[in-house]
Symmetry: C2
Subunit: 404 residues, 2 copies
């Protein structure tokens, strides 16, 4: 028989939202209703900040049909936060937990959020406070260790692949060079997903650059010029986290060159999203190299926040799995597991099937899972079609298109 721990539960959302992050919230709410040992199920507004300010919402009061609408609503319904709690903040969180008899803590987020959960968990252990903590995975970056993939990735990948397919068609209409900047600071999974747009010979992206394959600017412009010569046009997918051979972010280097302010967040991350500077820099360099081509169109788009927030275009598999990880976190806690991170695993079977396991918080916290080099071509400027076997089941079929 599982050891029952009676008390209240608290759930929070953290980091960059996704279009399925509320699926996990709803999965946890629905599952907790089945466990009488969870007395109150409290939602913390804006993650740990809401806990510190005792800004809670009683989630049991939300009607069932409203929960289903909430589940398909992008972005963190409870509010999110980018905060790296220090010892003082963690102390405060812990005091609030004790005050409200919170015995279960679920934190939906990426590797930084797993770190926060890990820290709070350590405090509880030291204080001998009976407590169960689970990190619920979420990130469009797909970069959590121990996971085959992460909730949020499939839907963002679906958006990216579909956007690049549309862009390929647009570029066929009005040929030129097009640079698309795709999210992913430390891992190129989302940028790699752009190749799901390729179906026919000559389809773009013609070049793909990941943070895992550092490249010099001269090589980049040379690649683009070659591809343009070959196809008479060129669509390039570039990760915002692209790095030079010294391992430095291009975005950071160009900001230094232009004397722009370096904006960093609470985790000392340099700001990459919400600016078109990298795309504009690359198009300027490409124009210089292809200056001999008359009337050449060179354009750059930064897909930006739409990748993680566009409603109504999620992956069905991703939505179901995001619900599953929220549900399973509560189940694991209620059958007596004490702490951990819920991880998605893939069955080694012909047809795609996923399940969850509990892994150590430490194995996920603050770590980064890169795209394996086996998916990158020798030149480091493209992703191989074998990646489709991995990613396609997570994304689902894309809308049909035809070319003449």
């Amino acid at each position: 028989m599982p050891v029952k721990l009676t008390g209240n539960a608290c759930i929070g959302q953290s980091g960059g939202p996704t279009v399925v992050i509320n699926q996990s919230l709803v999965g946890a709410i629905q599952e907790s209703a089945k466990h009488p040992e969870i007395q109150k199920f409290l939602g913390a507004r804006h993650g740990v900040r809401g806990i510190m300010e005792e800004d809670f919402l009683d989630l049991a009061t939300i009607p069932a049909d409203r929960l289903e609408t909430l589940a398909v609503t992008p972005a963190a319904a409870l509010g999110s936060v980018r905060l790296k709690p220090g010892p003082k903040e963690c102390e405060r969180v812990f005091d609030v937990f004790k005050k409200h008899n919170i015995r279960y803590f679920f934190y939906i987020g990426g590797d930084d959020s797993a770190k926060t959960a890990h820290t709070v968990n350590d405090l509880a252990r030291e204080a001998d406070y009976e407590f169960r903590t689970f990190h619920i995975p979420k990130t469009i970056d797909n970069n959590l260790m121990e996971n085959d993939h992460t909730p949020g990735f499939g839907s963002a990948a679906r958006f990216v692949a579909n956007a690049v397919r549309g862009d390929d068609l647009d570029n066929r209409s009005l040929p030129g060079v097009k640079v698309d900047i795709i999210m992913g600071r430390d891992a190129g999974w989302l940028t790699a997903a752009s190749i799901l747009a390729r179906r026919r010979d000559g389809d773009s992206p013609h070049l793909v650059y990941l943070p895992e394959a550092p490249i010099a600017m001269d090589q980049f412009t040379k690649d683009v010029a070659q591809a343009f010569e070959r196809y008479g046009r060129c669509v390039v997918a570039v990760s915002e986290g692209i790095r030079d051979p010294a391992g430095k972010l291009w975005a950071e280097r160009l900001a230094e060159e232009s004397d722009a302010d370096l904006v960093t967040d609470a985790f000392d991350h340099f700001q990459l999203s919400g600016t078109g500077a990298l795309a504009d820099y690359l198009t300027t360099r490409i124009k210089a190299v292809l200056a001999h081509v008359p009337d050449l169109r060179v354009r750059g788009d930064t897909f930006g926040y739409l990748q993680r927030s566009f409603p109504g275009f999620h992956s069905a598999v991703d939505a179901a799995e995001a619900r599953m990880v929220g549900r399973d976190a509560v189940r694991y806690a209620c059958v007596g597991d004490v702490d951990g991170s819920v991880a998605i695993k893939r069955e080694d079977a012909r047809a795609y099937k996923a399940y969850t396991e509990v892994v150590e918080l430490e194995a996920v916290a603050g770590k980064n899972r890169e795209v394996p080099s086996e998916y990158v071509n020798a030149e480091g400027n493209n992703v191989l079609d074998t990646f489709k076997d991995y990613a396609m089941p997570l994304v689902g079929d894309l809308p049909e298109t035809a070319v003449l």
Copy 2:
């Protein structure tokens, strides 16, 4: 009885593509099959350029089921072109028409394309060449005179409204200031459509700037600061065609200030799309004005080419009407109308219904239809909810979302 004119027909696509431009192509192909006086139906690759180079495709050979996939494929399947043909080019076009016994010419495009059709038509008249020319409307900008709205607008507006709704949710999650740059050089229709994202009190966009309401930078940043104070966050929709009180494009002014190259196209249009420079400029100015707010997130996205090319997210009404204008152009030509532009009109009835009429090419060619001032608030920084009555039927219902 209509006067039958026997010969071949030619169709081309021109200007910036849309997600429903191939609906018009398919509508014309399907209708022409019903008229034996149209012998061959030729598609010109890349508009007038394809005509000059005699680069034609026999469109009658495309199987029916492939036509339906083609219809839902974004971007110009025949290829598009940005070319302003001069007297010499028009002469060449005309020679090719005579050589191939082309008696019908259909040109799918915006106001620039109507101008091209008009010029070719004049040549035919002068030469006493029996000939029928129709301009088929297409533009996400919705700026064609004589039209209630244009094919392509409804789908682009649907994308923009849905993107801003997602952005609103993202901004609620992680509050800050967000600037979204939306396409539309000379008219703010598409930017105005961002307000379709608003449903509840406090929903964004909180501010909306159209080319029709010029504004000084100081007033803009003052507006943003005020909105931020009121809502604790702020999402701003800005047209790429925003102008200062002297009528000058902001984008052009800032390019001059930064000594950047001014890129112009064949129509002497300054390049606005395919760059994030305007958004980055605005976020920099906003950061300066709100420098006293600690840890303020200020981000900018430029929606870019996705607005006109994202597959599988079109408006059903827009798709049907794009098919209709293609079909009707062929019908008008075959019942004896000699030339004109097909225009969409709206029935003055309770339920939304549209139909087409033929209007003078001259009335559309090279002209711009602005957003009427009745839709803009007195301060010139927002669009009134009455605009929804106009735009909502063209866009259709958006995916449901909920907030806690």
